[in-house]
């Protein structure tokens, strides 16, 4: 029957992409139950029919529903926040901020030095310095600093 087969196709697509479940066994229903607890569309047809007729699977569904309720309640279970954690976070940010400040001062000095050199020298010298800089680590860091400004 067209309707029945489309319902089965729908069920197959919804709960299990690779296997159609025409007359599911308890074992198959038990395996599929965790997939239909998301509050979305319930699979129709044979699965629901089986559960309606089978006490074992009804009990299993009740267990999964209870599990879902318990999972929702996990947020009410107190997690003790360790003492001193705020202090630790603030100290690590302090250290990171100092490192950043030092880096910024250093790169400022390098830039100031570089502009002084470039300002004093002629255009040809500046070009030569930049070309040389590419071959040296410290100079290439300098040019990265310039690029990021």
């Amino acid at each position: 029957m067209a309707v029945a087969s489309s319902r089965r196709a729908h069920l197959g697509r919804l709960v299990h992409p690779f296997r159609r479940v025409d007359h599911p066994t308890c074992e198959e229903v038990r395996h599929l139950l965790p997939e239909i607890l998301d509050g979305g569309e319930l699979p129709s047809g044979d699965l629901v029919g089986h559960v309606e007729r089978c006490l074992v699977c009804q009990a299993e569904l009740a267990r999964y529903r209870r599990l879902m309720r318990l999972l929702h309640q996990v947020r009410t279970v107190e997690v003790a926040v360790p003492a001193g954690i705020v202090g630790d976070v603030l100290s690590s940010i302090e250290r990171a901020a100092s490192r950043r400040a030092i880096r910024s001062v250093l790169s400022g000095r390098r830039l100031a030095y570089a502009s002084a050199v470039l300002g004093a020298a002629g255009a040809a010298t500046a070009l030569a310095l930049l070309t040389l800089g590419r071959t040296r680590d410290d100079r290439s860091r300098l040019s990265e600093g310039e690029l990021s400004l």
Partner: protein, 215 residues
């Protein structure tokens, strides 16, 4: 418990003012106000820690995750545009940092998160006996969550505890939605087996047909 901002969600009605205040702190911090950033840390650390703890399952790793989260937030604050609540943004960083920490942890144990999922060990002996009260069931569930493989715990906590949509879970963990769903369903099956051990539960529910023979 005090009304902490609800992680990964818009603030509830009772928390709106608090949320707005926290967002205002973030705006000032973005302009370079260090005091505002410190106040932001003070106001949000508890909820970030609780989320981190539920994701990674122990205090030591949760502390590391929280520290790294705020360092990343501090560095990335200028890029935070304020489209979402700042707590939502912080919790996203927490989830991402926790996932990376767990990935590192499993790599150092010479397995990936996915390998770990395949090697699920059932250790019902480590859980207390089934009990009738909801509080006991919740405690048993918290213990069982702690025993899940990391990759499964991440997904089930985000979906079933924090109500994060599949799409967001997949994006935060860098996996496909179908992979996230497969993990979620495995996690639920394992938790169900641990919280309601099969033979005993079936014996109660049926007329005596053992679960493994039914069907």
């Amino acid at each position: 418990m005090t009304a902490l901002p609800a992680p990964l969600r818009q603030h509830g009605p009772g928390e709106r003012l608090r949320g707005a205040e926290i967002d205002a702190l973030a705006a000032r911090a973005r302009e370079g106000d260090r005091d505002a950033f410190e106040q932001l840390v003070v106001a949000t650390t508890a909820s970030c820690y609780q989320l981190a703890y539920r994701l990674v399952g122990n205090e030591h790793d949760a502390r590391d995750v929280v520290q790294e989260t705020y360092l990343r937030a501090y560095r990335g604050l200028k890029r935070f545009r304020g489209e979402a609540a700042v707590t939502t943004w912080l919790h996203r960083i927490t989830v991402n940092t926790a996932a990376r920490a767990l990935e590192r942890r499993s790599r150092s144990a010479t397995a990936t998160l996915d390998d770990d999922i395949e090697l699920v060990e059932m250790r019902p002996d480590r859980l207390p006996e089934p009990a009738a009260s909801a509080a006991d069931d919740r405690s048993r569930l918290v213990a069982a969550l702690g025993e899940l493989p990391d990759g499964l715990r991440l997904v089930v906590v985000l979906r079933d505890v924090y109500d994060l949509p599949h799409r967001d879970i997949a994006r935060e963990l860098g996996i496909s939605q179908s992979a996230a769903k497969v993990r979620l369903h495995r996690a639920r099956r394992l938790l169900r087996e641990r919280i309601f051990p099969a033979r005993r539960a079936h014996a109660q529910a049926t007329t005596g047909i053992p679960a493994d023979e039914a069907g």
